[in-house]
């Protein structure tokens, strides 16, 4: 069970067939976190729309 962000990223890579070295995980982490943040913002924006439509 991955517990740190680095372990989580490495596990996601393995699941997608991407072998990542420890150095690569470190390189990817800032961009990965930025990506997750942007997706969360998109999700929040669309959830608002869902609510509007549902109402």
């Amino acid at each position: 069970m991955p517990v740190t962000e680095r372990e989580e990223l490495a596990a996601a890579g393995r699941a997608a067939g991407i072998r990542l070295t420890a150095r690569e995980v470190a390189d990817l982490l800032p961009a990965w976190k930025r990506y997750l943040g942007l997706v969360e913002e998109l999700r929040a924006a669309m959830a608002l729309e869902d609510w509007d439509e549902g109402g």
Binding site: L9, A16, L20, L38, V39, L42
Partner: protein, 449 residues
Amino acid sequence: MRAVEALTSAPLVEIARSLRQRKVSPLELVDAYGRRIEQASGLHAFITLPGERARQDARRAGRRLAQGESGPLLGVPIAVKDLFATRGVRTTAGSRILKDWVPSRDAAVVARLRAAGAIIFGKTNLHEFAYGVSNANPWWGVAHNPHDPSRSPGGSSGGSAIAVAAGLCAAALGSDTGGSIRVPSSLCGCVGLKPTFGAIPLDGTFPLGWSLDHAGPLARTVGDAGFLLGVLTGMDAGRRARRTSTRGLRVGVLQGSILQKVQPRVADQVDAAAAALRRRGLRIREVTIPEMEWTVATQLVTLRAEASAVHRRWIRTRPRSYGADVRIRLQLGALVAGADYVLAQRMRGRLRAAFERIFRNVDVLLLPTTPIIAPVIGDRTVRWRSGEEPVDGALVRLTAPFNLIGLPALSVPFGHVAGLPVGVQVVAQWMDEARVLAVGRLIEELADA
């Protein structure tokens, strides 16, 4: 000699006319451009130089002209971004992976240029696989801005923009997935046109993101861009633009929070362009499009997933064959969840609806092409009052919406800031290139006034 040297920086239509009137021969022109390319070699505009093959094509074009043959581009040297396949000529897509690929067929756009009589004049530098906007290519050289070599030309069609702006060819072809024609055009001071999605065929073009990719011309004038659009599509938008009256057209000038992250002197140039259009009888109104706030996230998710699909095999089997920045983007793209991609496509629908609403009340939209002038090579972030933003994200923030929804968009130079060019972007309804070009021509005229 002097006449041909002066012609190298002239508009394409003037070059074509001089060739038809046999004031200059295609070979003289090709050789003059060759000398200029040699002088500008430090800019790294080309991956494959025009070379002897272009001289042979020039001799052949010269014979055809002497026999009274005509063709819209007969003998005109056009450079093409090195992701368009060229029969018998190496096509690298700016990568190490394809460094030895010699296609057996021309891309559709290259075939159309050749059919019009053009000389395919070298293959221009690009960001590796067109996946980035710095044009700092690790395999073929870091490209430099012709106005200030310490600055980036932008990308990914950076080599094409340099070649046009520095007078190394008559015009060039580029591709645009998030702004890759318009961004370097803006930073280098030339005209760049991204037509409506699907208007120009992409067969034989190395893909980056299938639902976002566009091809289009980079040129020294709006008239040249319209002329090339005609050659590439058969659309007569360029001719119609010349006959289109702009008086009374409704111009929406973008306002709102998205412009808080635009350099003030860049915003001033757009305001000056709008004021000049108002003086010429166009009706200026302010518009806000809050949905544009979601552009970067929507583009990022969509492109990461699509580019990762293009590179699915190589990124798993030979990741070391990519430059570091592109490798990171592709590796992260492989991790995009299907649900996230669907989310981005739903947001794309929302963006489309927002622009449909806007275009009920305006005929064209006016906004900066890029929120910043050409960044210093190597700069990674831009500082705003609200915080830092990655340079690559900032550069496409105002261009990517029109890739997501496929609207035609044109970047036209309008003034300078700190000696560097500023591009103003004109956008219209789908397939309304004529209006984009008509307003673009007027802005060009007002910039020169």
